[in-house]
Assembly symmetry: C2
């Protein structure tokens, strides 16, 4: 498709096409959908994106996205500030929040250590995590990073950096989220690594 | 997902989520992708959409999208202006252009007659089509509307409106694009209506 009747249309389609997972046909469909809307609606669309880019900040404590200096979770008195869940990115915070099962706070690394991609410990928010653990008398750090080589490397690096706080007089605990057969999934369709790990990490049955 | 850490993020996600076929998770992924780009890149993204909405025009002749009063196809001296292909929308023009098989011009109706949706002949560009046929000594009108009840109704309505030009001294010809088994498709997987029509409308074999 390179015979667009309008350069304006072509530019808009090219921009939307630059988004991940949006092909050229889909981009055209989305652009024509926007074009059918009112001026005010298109203004609201582009305005919301512009304002987000210009005005959004990162929480000075957990590095999650925030409208102000400190995000609502870090500012809340209802959260347990001595439990920190370490996640790779903003989506992970949303996913855990949606479970409604977590009352602690977060620390968003903004990536994982990946020498292949040139991402070292200094490129993600590990120093600020260690600082928080030192200053805020944190009792538990929950590692919720992806189970990839990079995630494991990052877990191990964090563990080493904070290992001193595991000994008295400190009482830090480092945990990681449970990996196992997803609730509702059948064993025969579960991959071997997951199933194997769910047997090794079995729990006492509670009736 | 309603626990966004930022109203700005929530607004941007809601706007992107309003696009057809883009769910909330995908919207979040796209917005976070935009957020990782430079200010200039985000400006280019929103700017391309804003400019399209503000500056794009409709060709005064064929009603395709255009940067100027007359679109490149209608302005071209290399096209056969006595053959008009009638299509429902802008995407259809692009699809036919991409075949490289058509040297005539187009007429974009901007919809099809659909009493159920309150779309009558006056709501789409039929009057302007009839005017073009009268004024420009058109020799052939190719109907390329969808094979739906609405498409058929629109075909029939156009036929009736221009039927007078089929008789001498005029020499208008009304055709429709061939429907049949798609090239490369196997007969056993072709739906019965298409296969039936491809037998009824069989052509002389050319060796």
């Amino acid at each position: 498709m390179d015979s667009y009747p309008s350069i304006l249309l072509e530019n808009a389609v090219r921009q939307v096409n630059s988004l991940p997972g949006i092909g050229q046909r889909t981009a055209l469909r989305l652009v024509l959908n926007l074009l059918r809307r009112s001026d005010a609606d298109v203004e609201a669309f582009t305005g919301a994106i512009s304002r987000l880019k210009k005005e959004v900040r990162y929480c000075s404590c957990c590095h999650n996205l925030s409208d102000s200096d400190v995000c609502p979770i870090c500012a809340s008195h209802h959260r347990d500030h001595q439990t920190i869940c370490v996640v790779e990115n903003v989506q992970d915070v949303l996913s855990i929040e949606n479970t409604g099962q977590y009352a602690g706070v977060y620390h968003v690394l903004g990536g994982v250590i990946s020498p292949m991609d040139g991402v070292g410990p200094k490129d993600i928010e590990i120093d600020s995590l260690v600082e928080r653990i030192e200053k805020e008398q944190v009792k538990e750090v929950i590692l919720a990073l992806p189970t990839t080589m990079e995630g494991d490397t990052t877990n191990f690096y964090i563990y080493r950096r904070v290992a001193q706080y595991l000994e008295p007089p400190y009482a830090l605990r480092i945990t990681q989220i449970a990996r196992g057969v997803a609730v509702g999934n059948e064993l025969e369709y579960t991959d071997e690594i997951t199933l194997g790990r769910s047997i090794v990490n079995r729990l006492d049955f509670k009736a």
